[in-house]
């Protein structure tokens, strides 16, 4: 195995390694897809109103379908990340203690507040949850949402799940993005709407970190 390469990524030679360029390409594809959805639903809706203004309610329903598709996609990205809750029992507290030790003071406070761990990287600023991660790209405008989890995590406390992902991310950022499955990419504001209110400040901090 090549030094510095995530073992899990090395075990998937068929998957093209993620990079700044590949993420940019994926971002463009997602934008094209979103434009396609808007055009597919918006154009007939506009045409219908032009032909028959009284059909506006039908047009609105049609357009609403298109917006719902975009909304659901962002929601899928937001729900995949799963912030951790407050520690309740022994193992959870122990896990959170170790996770806190792995992070700097500012990130630790943010974790306590939002349930997400902030990790700056070369590809942007990451927010890591129990079963996924959000990457805010440099500039802070675009986000990529990833589904990634510990292989056998049923018995692990939430803090340990985040610690697993955080360590893997630190070992090899691009390898981490290679192993993870994508479930959304788009404007940060679209994701913000769908995040639980508690987790939103984390996105703000990650955007600021990605813009720095």
């Amino acid at each position: 195995m090549e030094a510095g390469v995530l073992a899990e990524a090395a075990a998937m030679p068929w998957r093209r390694r993620a990079s700044d360029q590949s993420l940019r390409r994926e971002g463009r594809t997602w934008t094209l897809w979103s434009v396609g959805v808007v055009v597919t639903f918006g154009l007939p809706a506009a045409l219908l109103i032009w032909i028959e203004p009284l059909a506006a309610p039908v047009s609105a329903i049609f357009l609403g379908h298109g917006l719902a598709v975009l909304h659901l996609q962002a929601r899928r990205g937001a729900r995949g990340v799963k912030p951790i809750g407050a520690a309740t029992d022994g193992p959870e507290r122990t896990a959170l203690g170790l996770l806190g030790d792995l992070m700097d003071h500012g990130s630790r406070d943010l974790l306590a507040l939002t349930g997400l761990a902030l990790q700056p990287g070369r590809l942007g600023a990451w927010l890591v949850g129990q079963e996924g991660a959000i990457l805010v790209r440099p500039g802070g405008h675009r986000v990529h949402c990833f589904c990634v989890r510990v292989g056998e995590a049923a018995d692990l406390p939430p803090g340990d799940r985040v610690a697993h992902l955080l360590l893997a991310l630190r070992e090899d950022e691009e390898g981490f993005a290679t192993v993870a499955n994508r479930n959304f990419s788009g404007a940060a504001w679209r994701l913000r709407w769908e995040l639980p209110a508690r987790a939103r400040p984390a996105l703000g901090r990650a955007r600021a970190a990605a813009d720095a």
Partner: protein
């Protein structure tokens, strides 16, 4: 004091600890490390700058080495 820990259901378990001048504790740590690798765990050494590095041999100069399970796309 350097530590080898495993992330598990208890939060984490300290498997070994060692110091630079204690050969016996180093040997015990190396043995514990190998046992974990054989069981399919992956090792991550935390560096002073906050990064982590995948390791296949126990780095005796590291402060903290964490054994973790493999991750996968969800």
């Amino acid at each position: 004091m350097s530590r080898l820990i495993r992330l598990d259901r208890t939060g984490h378990t300290e498997l070994a600890s060692w110091t630079a001048d204690d050969g016996a504790s180093q040997e015990a740590a190396v043995e514990a490390f190998r046992r974990e690798l054989e069981e399919g765990m992956l090792a991550s050494a935390t560096m002073a700058d906050g990064t982590a590095e995948v390791v296949r041999e126990l780095p005796l100069d590291a402060d903290l080495v964490v054994m973790r399970r493999p991750i996968a796309g969800g």
